[in-house]
Point group: C2
Chain length 438, copies 2
């Protein structure tokens, strides 16, 4: 039986998970793969901390280069994260002819085009199932299961921290800061939660799957990103009254000539299956022209779910090595020569429904002023709600609009906030609701 030699770089939570799964489930992996997967070396700055994994002597090293330059290593598992050292290590390992398995969405979102090209030039593969949606088979489903589909849209919850916080605000009515503190205390949010709560992590993942689904280069820079820090219990309560839930969604849609790629808090119907995705769980709806709506659901992060995805990639590469089938599935879903330039639509050009919560003086005529300005921009109002309580002399006026262009919404709001009766910046939340009358 052939042995594949693995080198692990980065022995943090995710790296330790991969090592543990390789060791604990070695028998099942070997019987199903038909090869031995031997964890030959693990490189980390810290090789003193006991991670509770029984490793043979000599596996741990602080010398990264000894791992990525080791001619006997077939596959390098990059589990450092971040965009600087990880990139150098990956490029050097690629140049050394190593296959790469990684969960590093930030790196792939920002430098993936260069890295995948380098891998192709050196005849190796970069496998990255763990970079999007943890153990959910997002990459495999897009690349393989939906291979005969024109993918039309993808809508998903791809960050467990945000979903945990929003679920908490929804269920307990906590304010955002309290919900964040609770998430940090329970280990669901990091000490510096910026990447998660500001939507960047979700956008990294969206950049990757948008490229795979629509046959385009990875384009993180043009994704519109808005986090969840401004969401209040009041907005969530209004959403509930209208039959919606608020989720931080990654939205990637394809129309004839354009791609939409955006990350923002979104109201979705309570009976949409994504509304049932609570806590740290993730889910992604993928809609193809043949399949219709499909959904993947599972743990999008965490030590062992992520390890499961890492191992599925390792086994995929091992199976390719065993059968000599390198390059069997194009890394970016399409071969390079079929990857098209496809611009991402500016957010101002999207058309959707909106929830707008104005704070205004409790005075006759206010509604007329607001609706008059909206009318000037051809924004048609579906319903108006004024039942909220007064606070600091202001009352909330909530409007749901029919389909409108974002640019017009913003222009209208810009005029509305200049009115004396408006007391604070309005809250704008996009609605994703196919069933809603247009």
């Amino acid at each position: 039986m052939r042995t594949m030699q693995l080198g692990l770089v980065g022995f943090g939570t995710v790296g330790a998970g991969a090592a543990r799964l390789l060791i604990d489930n070695a028998a099942i992996i070997q019987s199903r793969t038909g090869a031995k997967l031997r964890l030959k070396s693990i490189a980390d700055i810290d090789i003193e901390t006991d991670r509770g994994i029984a490793l043979p002597d000599g596996v741990l090293t602080t010398d990264v280069e000894a791992v990525i330059d080791d001619p006997n290593i077939d596959i390098v598992i990059e589990m450092i994260g971040g965009e600087t050292i990880a990139k150098e290590i990956m490029l050097r390992a690629i140049a050394n002819g190593k296959h790469i398995v990684t969960a590093n969405k930030a790196l792939l979102a920002k430098h993936g085009n260069q890295l995948f090209r380098a891998a192709a030039d050196h005849g190796v593969e970069i496998a990255f199932e763990a970079s999007v949606g943890g153990c959910m088979p997002v990459i495999k489903t897009i690349r393989e299961s939906m291979v005969a589909n024109h993918i039309q849209s993808m809508v998903g919850i791809l960050n467990g921290t945000c979903n945990y916080i929003l679920s908490n605000i929804t269920d307990a009515g906590s304010a955002f800061q309290a919900a964040l503190a609770e998430a940090q205390a329970s280990g669901c949010a990091e000490a510096d939660p910026t990447l998660d709560i500001e939507g960047y992590d979700t956008a990294h993942k969206l950049a990757i799957i948008t490229a795979l689904a629509y046959g385009m280069e990875i384009n993180f820079d043009d994704i519109y990103i808005e986090g969840i820090t401004a969401i209040t219990p009041m907005d969530i309560e209004y959403a509930r009254q209208f039959g919606y839930k608020i989720k931080l969604l990654a939205i990637g849609k394809r129309s004839a000539n354009a791609v939409e790629a955006r990350v923002h808090p979104t109201m979705i119907p309570a009976d949409n299956i994504l509304s049932s995705v609570n806590g740290t769980l993730n889910a992604l709806t993928i809609t193809g022209d043949a399949t219709g709506d499909t959904l993947l659901y599972g743990h999008g992060a965490g030590m062992m779910p992520t390890a499961s995805a890492v191992l599925s990639d390792i086994v995929d590469i091992a199976r390719n090595l065993l059968t000599g089938a390198g390059g069997r599935v194009p890394m970016l879903s399409y071969p390079f020569e079929h990857i098209q330039p496809r611009p991402i639509k500016p957010i101002d050009d999207i058309t959707t429904h909106y929830y707008i919560r104005f704070s205004a003086l409790d005075r006759p005529g206010v509604l007329s002023i607001i609706s008059g300005i909206l009318g000037q921009f051809n924004i048609s109002i579906q319903s108006v709600h004024q039942k909220g309580r007064r606070s600091n002399g202001s009352v909330p006026i909530v409007m749901l609009t029919h389909q409108a262009r974002e640019k017009h919404i913003k222009q209208a709001i810009e005029q509305i906030v200049q009115q004396d009766v408006i007391t604070a910046a309005p809250m704008l939340i996009r609605i994703e609701d196919n069933q809603q009358p247009g």
Copy 2:
């Protein structure tokens, strides 16, 4: 660019869907596969009916043997269905060295062991993603994405007809016969619905995935099967009051030495994500030791969703042919030499919670009689509900039990129905509820 020659046998709905997708989405398939997939011949008894697909002259034939014996055909797509002719055709095509793509769950459930062995002996593959869950990537997820997991359980809704009927009874309060008639009128149920409503179709699929997940031979005969024909709106209403929904579930669980494989109507908590799966949609929860709970959701049947799965299999085989990677993934998830004999637990040996609805005379002492007998069999009652209305002189008495062994439940019921106060056979529905106190 290499051309793969395809022969389609069976030009009904699913076969026509595969042909349509091959033709309509030829460009995307070709660009992603790196090969041309040419539909060389289609065999069917009926080649006169216009299926609305523009085929080149000479593709259609009534001569099946001309297709499966054609030395130029690489892949035979078996879309006849059923267990007799389809089996002969498949065996002959295999003997001719053709790879097989099929959606035929009945055939694989009953003769899969023989067919997969024949394929292995002839160095060809049988691909069957479309046989379970339509476009949901069930087979690929179990075989590839969860390759490093010990799968612990699978619980799913795998028959759209049953789910449509149960959703209809739940939403409209229709009786079963009315809901079935409605499903037939809307095309969601066949004229002879036996295979679906009696649970056989679900069991065919469960037999296949149980083998893949637990490394055992396909064993359809020992699966416990109970359909949905006895479910009444009253039971669904009680379920609602207790916070449950009733779904026809395929349940496949693995414990140390035993496998549970059963199909029956089941009460599940309303907040279980499977409770949100309505209409003809399917979903499957797969729980692995590393992944935890995951779920796949989508259209489990229908012309184009099934075609999408068929095409993913064709492309998988084409990619193997291009790279010479035949046998890259073991067909049954484990290589034959690792497939273990694993008996399926008799239904009498399972332990779960039960809903039992007795019909009894509205008379003092009835509850004491029933609960006394249950107590003799060590069955502990969680709650009793007697609020239903009298009909034909009887009242419903509903009991939810704590964990109990099925054998004891049946023995107790056998004694209870002999009591004069019992007026009709009781309704027994198993409850699947991990959260419920045991």
